[in-house]
Assembly symmetry: C2
DNA sequence: GTGAAAGCGCTAACAC
DNA sequence: GTGTTAGCGCTTTCAC
């Protein structure tokens, strides 16, 4: 019973030797492939167990699959994404694949996609990716790709979006019905995030615009720049807007995180919500639901987004060619930061 | 100029051919290894660029390194961790390694460690891992390992912790000095998280205990179970504790997330902070700092934790053998949820 | 149903 | 300083 004293990993050869089989047979057992007798399978499995054998992912990656799927995350500080992640995990883990997440925050989505391709990742779910259409198509050639929060069509990849046109419209209508006129929207105002309608940012801004027109408030339309939909953006924009002589009576923040920045700015300036200012966010994060905050927001149903994204990826990986696309209906959650205007 | 129409990745052979060099030379250039003339290096680099060559990580993983470091994350919903992550990224990215994160939330830390080892990850930083000492030692044999939030010593791995004894003591002293006696602590009460002092949970509970004794409040010591340090735990515990006939006047939550659950429970029960209840958290998250919440908390300096963790990992990967250990001094951030007791 | 053997894209001796 | 070559641990034809 020879055994190395250095903790060398058992290889497929070790298993084959112990099970008195060929490496090919072991490989078949490993992949639940056809062509192994029950008796052989049992022997091999026993040997794998005894040796505590685990296949080497790099070696598998050279010929076959790595059993790894990648998630690209745009903003770790946004607590909206973990719910999507949780739903994806629940679908993927039972398939005994490992999920690896990388964030594009300090590099670029393009670099992260490439890094994942370099690592032979089997499929990728990109959450709200900041990257051009053409690069997405390129990426989809290398591995199955599913996008969330992108309003784009392509036979190359699948998408799952929330109906941002409806979501933004619901917010504006809610505010207008309460009697607000000067409703400012907080979102990126320049670059492709502001102009290309495949981006959620541009989409919500556009819908805000249209809804204001429809409510007869076209003259009050104003978007203040929040280039990255972050807390810091919201804080800065909030300080600016709320320091004006003639303040808006309502603010529609593109994201809950942005809204939190506004909450902080308002707090520091002694402006009470909803007495002096109505505020709505987007994402319905748990933080916003806390009693002392009670932020009005839009629920995107992250659980459904994640579940669908995982289903699409898995079916693509199993060979589906036709592109899929899903649109989820959002839901307005009116809480206590929105009310009738004071003055 | 032959070129495949299928988008096959360029390999080291393609580069070698184009540069009129050997694959060994290309490999050397790739790794900045010794033994290549400037002229050769230039030719090879030009060829790599022209072919848009990217090394195949799986192939590298079979002989050398994968240029990938892994982060194990315990709780995506806890906004305390992203700051550590950010600091790590800032250290690691300039070394042109890729970071891959996996969460242990839906599996186990052990499984995630194994999955990373399977993938030939070069080094691992485990954030507040829930796993036994012996398994950590096992894991450290397979790849350099750095732990945060574990008060354990081992020559096998490095650790970086915040001084939880001091942090918890500061909270209790702060509350006691305000005049509180019935100070309840929210933390896990059973299992190794409650008993093994290498865990942050047990450590804080223990320090709470000692500090209560030292403040002459030993008779008021009580810990209410929050098995996972989560929002839901805090909410449940909060509802229970605050519904009692004789409520505590102060609650020390083991984590800001737990404190948020208490905030929600108190809100629903019509209990005002700090008038009817003082509340302190731990982690000093951005959410807690929001004006309407203004949660008193303990700052652990996540940026320093992350920076040190990355430095330690990098130096281990460069061959350091001697174990390192750092302890960071926390800081109490008193805000508006703590005040003198009402009754 | 099973095994032998080629080869995936790299790295690292080792020779020159 | 440069090239040849033997694997790393798997998967996958192709024989038998």
């Amino acid at each position: 019973m020879p055994s190395d004293q250095t903790t060398r990993r058992a290889t497929i050869h070790d298993v084959a030797r112990l099970a008195q089989a060929s490496t090919a047979a072991v490989s078949r057992v490993l992949r639940d492939a056809y062509g192994v007798s029950d008796e052989m399978a049992a022997r091999v499995k026993a040997a794998m167990k005894e040796l505590d054998y685990r296949p080497h992912a790099s070696a598998r990656g050279m010929r076959g699959k790595t059993y790894t799927i990648g998630i690209i995350h745009p903003d770790l500080r946004n607590t909206f994404f973990p719910d999507i992640f949780a739903a994806i995990s629940q679908m993927v883990l039972p398939t005994s694949r490992q999920m690896m997440m990388a964030t594009s925050e300090w590099t670029s989505t393009e670099d992260v996609l490439a890094a994942m391709h370099d690592r032979s990742i089997e499929g990728i779910i990109a959450l709200a990716p900041h990257i051009s259409e053409s690069k997405l198509v390129e990426a989809a050639k290398r591995a199955p790709l599913v996008l969330t929060h992108r309003h784009s069509y392509s036979p190359a990849y699948d998408t799952i979006v929330s109906d941002d046109d409806l979501g933004a419209e619901m917010v504006v209508r809610h505010l207008a019905e309460l009697g607000h006129k000067r409703i400012v929207h907080l979102a990126p105002t320049s670059g492709r995030l502001a102009t290309q309608l495949s981006f959620v940012t541009a989409r919500r801004s556009n819908a805000y615009h249209d809804a204001m027109e429809r409510a007869g408030l076209g003259g009050f339309t104003e978007i203040v720049d929040c280039p990255h939909y972050t807390y810091e953006d919201g804080y800065r924009a909030g300080r600016e807007v709320l320091s004006r002589d003639k303040r808006p009576t309502a603010i529609f923040a593109g994201t809950d995180n942005v809204a939190f920045g506004v909450i902080q700015a308002a707090y520091e300036l002694g402006i009470e919500l909803p007495r002096h200012l109505s505020l709505a966010g987007y994402d319905n994060t748990q933080t916003g639901s806390l009693g002392p905050l009670s932020l009005t927001s839009v629920d995107q149903n992250p659980h459904e987004i994640g579940t669908l994204a995982a289903e699409m990826l898995l079916s693509r990986m199993q060979g589906r060619q036709a592109s899929q696309r899903a649109k989820i209906t959002p839901r307005l959650v009116a809480r206590k930061t929105t009310a009738e205007p004071f003055d």
